[in-house]
């Protein structure tokens, strides 16, 4: 059952990620990105990270995608027309994909393919993440809070016409 769910989510994930690029209409790309995020949340749940699956749906599929769609509607972005492919560009792209793939393949250790059947004891992962966030990682947590404040002020300054 876990295998079936993994392959189902993986196919939906990769397929919708490709559709984000292939679609000419920006709204269709944004909706494909929502599908990709939901498939990724499913994979997080399969890995036992239930809290992160929920955060993924709230923050990404909720807040971030609404922001994207809002900006698409606001700017009235037109569908992109196709441009002719250039041989140099295609060659450079294929070389990049080859080098990236080779690098990733060598980075995966052989021990990663051994079936480790032991399942984490179904603990309360939100509680353990919370204990880590307010314990060992309290300084980065505060720094991220400060980053959010700075970003909020920056966005307000950027969007005002005359400061």
């Amino acid at each position: 059952m876990e295998g079936f769910l993994f392959w189902f989510s993986a196919i939906v994930l990769l397929g919708s990620a490709v559709t984000v690029i292939v679609n000419r209409s920006p709204v269709a790309s944004a909706l494909s990105l929502v599908t990709m995020i939901l498939a990724l949340a499913g994979l997080f749940g399969l890995l036992g990270a239930y809290f992160l699956a929920a955060v993924q749906v709230w923050v990404y599929a909720g807040a971030v995608m609404v922001l994207f769609l809002f900006i698409i509607m606001l700017l009235d972005v037109k569908a992109e027309e196709g441009a002719p492919l250039r041989a140099l560009g295609v060659g450079a792209g294929l070389l990049t994909v080859f080098l990236l793939g080779a690098g990733f393949w060598h980075a995966i250790p052989a021990s990663a393919w051994e079936a480790s059947g032991m399942r984490v004891a179904e603990s309360n992962d939100a509680a353990s993440i919370g204990h880590l966030l307010f314990g060992a990682y309290v300084l980065p947590f505060e720094a991220v809070g400060l980053l959010l404040l700075v970003a909020m002020v920056g966005v307000i300054v950027l969007s005002k016409r005359d400061v």
Binding site: A17, P26, A30, A115, L147, S159
Partner: protein, 102 residues
Amino acid sequence: MGTPTLGHYLVLSGLLFAIGLAGVIVRRDLLIMYMCLEIMLNAANLSLVAFSRFSQQVRGQVLVFFVITVAAVEVAVGLALLVSLYRMKRTTKAEEITALKF
């Protein structure tokens, strides 16, 4: 279809990252390029959660929490930049923004 191992998740994450990188290179609309950046960040998150699950440590999930926060900040600031750029240039195409081109 056996139980997926760590290698399955890492290959999936690598493929997702490659798709995002290809999107940033291929597409010329700045909005779509932002979406492809999100795909790449999500690919990194997937490998972090997979490592966290297979090494039985929650610390990887804390890192993913931070990455999601920083990605939300990046989208907010980036889209505000895009809106103010659109006010000046009336375009969101990367190739028509040439003020800093040498």
